[in-house]
């Protein structure tokens, strides 16, 4: 294999390149002074930017501006939702959190922490082999312990295999039982139609850097009139739910990226979907004993493969050397690659789970990127398979 000078960034589910509009909006704010909580002119000017941005993001996600609470990340939004609801409703004797086992670590880890330190109980809602929560089973389990449930949290779409969940159906069950429901929509926002209002969920997590916005800014969309116990205490910003000086430049960048993402959602999705199809048919034509892990409803940009007999981390190393940047999708616990909890929950064995690789396509992906993968994949998989046999 010759070393290619070309590179293909196919890890857009991890993070994306910032769109020029977001760079501009952000950099315009970086040189300005003003704390959005200050009362003087500089403060008012920053506040104006924050509130216009809040309105734009609310508009993009089908919520009211007052429902948008800025956080420093999607992870923080998830922590605020889980811990905030848990602590707030504990007095009512509610200590059960219902989630699927394929949630992002930013849900599963705070949940595990609550279980270990705060006596929370996990109600696990099973998923099928395509990575979708089984609605009937979930309904039965939820109804059995409805009086103890603090919160239901189901991701809108999965970050590894891209399966889109039937959150609306689960929200209807939650609504019937008057239970709060949160959805981690970090992967869906800006990629598939998403409306906080129509989905009728209680809370929703968003992140800017997955849609061409800056790192370090996210939001929890939370229904009006609801109270949570804050995780961060301080100056009382963001409805007293999330203290900390508002990051005006990042918020401006987030709003610019969100606005573009929604305006171009259909055209981007169509393009990305086509690239995904090109990648899948190209790879399957080149490599035998390979399967695609996908639900019928899936994100347009995620192509998740299992290459039998080839370890994901060997594939990743070899592809990286060829300029192709993708992901095994699994979390690195203590730096050691482990089989993905998502794939294991979908019923895959350790070996197959470790033989998987995620390519995530974004608006900046080109046909040349896809063709680079297709041109190098066969010898890469062959080598990784040989390495798996030693």
């Amino acid at each position: 294999m010759a070393i290619n000078s070309a590179t293909a960034y196919l890890d857009n589910a991890a993070t994306t390149a910032m769109v020029p509009e977001a760079v501009l909006a952000m950099s315009q704010q970086l040189s300005k002074v003003g704390n959005a909580s200050s009362l003087h002119a500089a403060g008012r000017s920053a506040r104006k930017v924050v509130e216009e941005s809040r309105e734009a993001i609310a508009d993009a996600v089908g919520a009211s501006p007052s429902e948008v609470i800025f956080t420093a990340s999607g992870t923080e939004a998830n922590n605020l939702a889980l811990k905030g609801f848990y602590w707030h409703r504990l007095a009512e004797g509610r200590n059960v959190i219902a989630t699927s086992p394929i949630e992002h670590h930013a849900i599963l880890d705070p949940l595990e922490w609550l279980v270990d330190h705060e006596n929370a109980k996990w109600l696990e809602l099973d998923v099928d082999q395509n990575g979708q929560v089984l609605i009937e089973g979930a309904e039965k389990k939820i109804k059995e312990v409805a009086n103890s449930i603090s919160l239901i949290s189901i991701m809108h779409s999965n970050n590894e295999v891209g399966s889109v969940q039937h959150v609306g159906e689960i929200a209807a069950i939650a609504g019937e039982l008057d239970l709060p429901i949160h959805t981690d929509a970090v992967q869906s926002f800006g990629k598939i139609p998403l409306s906080f209002r129509e989905l009728n969920v209680t809370a929703m997590s968003l992140s800017a850097h997955k849609i061409g916005g800056p790192l370090g800014i996210g939001a929890l969309v939370l229904k009006k009139g609801l109270d949570l116990t804050p995780v961060l205490h301080g100056g009382g910003q963001e409805r007293d739910l999330r203290s900390g000086t508002l990051d005006t430049p990042a918020i401006a960048g987030f709003a610019a990226a969100a606005t573009i993402a929604i305006a171009e959602l259909n055209s981007r999705a169509a393009r990305v979907r086509k690239l995904r199809e090109r990648l899948i048919s190209g790879v399957l034509a080149k490599v035998e004993n390979t399967s695609v892990n996908s639900a019928k409803d899936h994100l347009p940009g995620i192509a998740h493969f299992t290459f039998e007999g080839a370890e994901g981390d060997a594939l990743l190393l070899l592809l990286d050397a060829q300029g192709v940047q993708c992901s095994t999708g699994s979390a690195c616990s203590a730096g050691v690659p482990r089989p993905s909890h998502v794939l294991l929950a979908m019923g895959m064995n350790d070996k197959r789970a470790k033989s998987s690789l995620r390519f995530s396509i974004g608006p900046s992906t080109t046909e040349a990127d896809i063709d680079l993968v297709i041109s190098v994949i066969a010898p890469v998989v062959e080598r990784a398979r040989a390495a798996g046999l030693v």
Binding site: G335, P337, R338, R383
Partner: protein, 366 residues
Amino acid sequence: MKVIAAMSGGVDSAVAAARAVEAGHEVIGVHLALSANPQKYRSGARGCCTVEDSHDARRVADIIGIPFYIWDMASEFHEAVVDNFISEYSIGRTPNPCLRCNEKIKFAAVLNRARAMGYEKVVTGHYAKVVDSPTGPMLNRANDPEKDQSYVLAVLTQDQIAGAMFPLGDTHKVDVRAEAQARGFALAQKPDSHDICFVPSGDNAGWLRERLGSESGSILDEHGKKLGSHKGAYTYTIGQRKGLNLTVPANDGSPRYVLKIEPLSNTVVVGSHEKLAVSKISGSEIKWCGPVPGNEALRGFAQVRAHGQALPCSYKFDGVNLTAILDEPLYGLAAGQALVIYDGDRVVGSATIDHTDQAIGSSNGS
């Protein structure tokens, strides 16, 4: 050449990787995760493979501009090295896990994987030299006698040696540290690792007791008279003098040493220093680092410990066993350790010691 640099997060492997890059090789850094539950931080000079070590290795990879990955070798390491360590001790032998790791992990599991993926060699920070010869690559001692690690590499076959690159073989440790400093590696002053990496507490005996039990047994003299008791025969090693806690002093007041370990009866036999004398050593599981010698007796040097002396000897390979006859006896030698034969600075090969001519018991380990 495309090579994989095994980067532990220590000074030596960091400088070795940097030198490989400067020599023009296409280098990929790999940190081996050898424990499924790594400790977060190093404590002093003990152990390795902590999360902090992998972070240190990654920082060096960033500085020298190479890709960096973590390879999970925990199950291979556990099976080939840790389990072997426990089972050897359980039968009264004294294994050397570093040799085992080089033989089974670094220059087997890692090298084979590297080769399958199109990488020719594994670069490590070992102090040893690979010297080309008409009969293929040879393993030689390093220039720094204090740090020479050829002993723990003497289990490699010529094919494994052909897949090894040791960029530090011609350099003294003090210069390697200075070079790390000059290269801006934050780990330049990190202490060397000692002890056994998977026993982070450094308490070997305690670690073994947790796994093999601590049933007490007798400490006897060579005539069978009870002198004291112990908590697990396998926590002793031949030639050991300290920690015997004998209740009956020797007649002449001279110190006593462990002469023999009998795991079946859980008995430790002690006696005087001269009873530890060994002149004839034989072993099996022979590895030749170069050409296989004929079956005639040859002159060379025997070394039985990582930083032990090279003792003049005659050695002979009968097709099954390797036997060394020392010119002068050595004192205290345990079965399970490696007998390494040198021809000058060249490593001829090694055997795992099964028998010696020690007067009491012969440390046959069975």
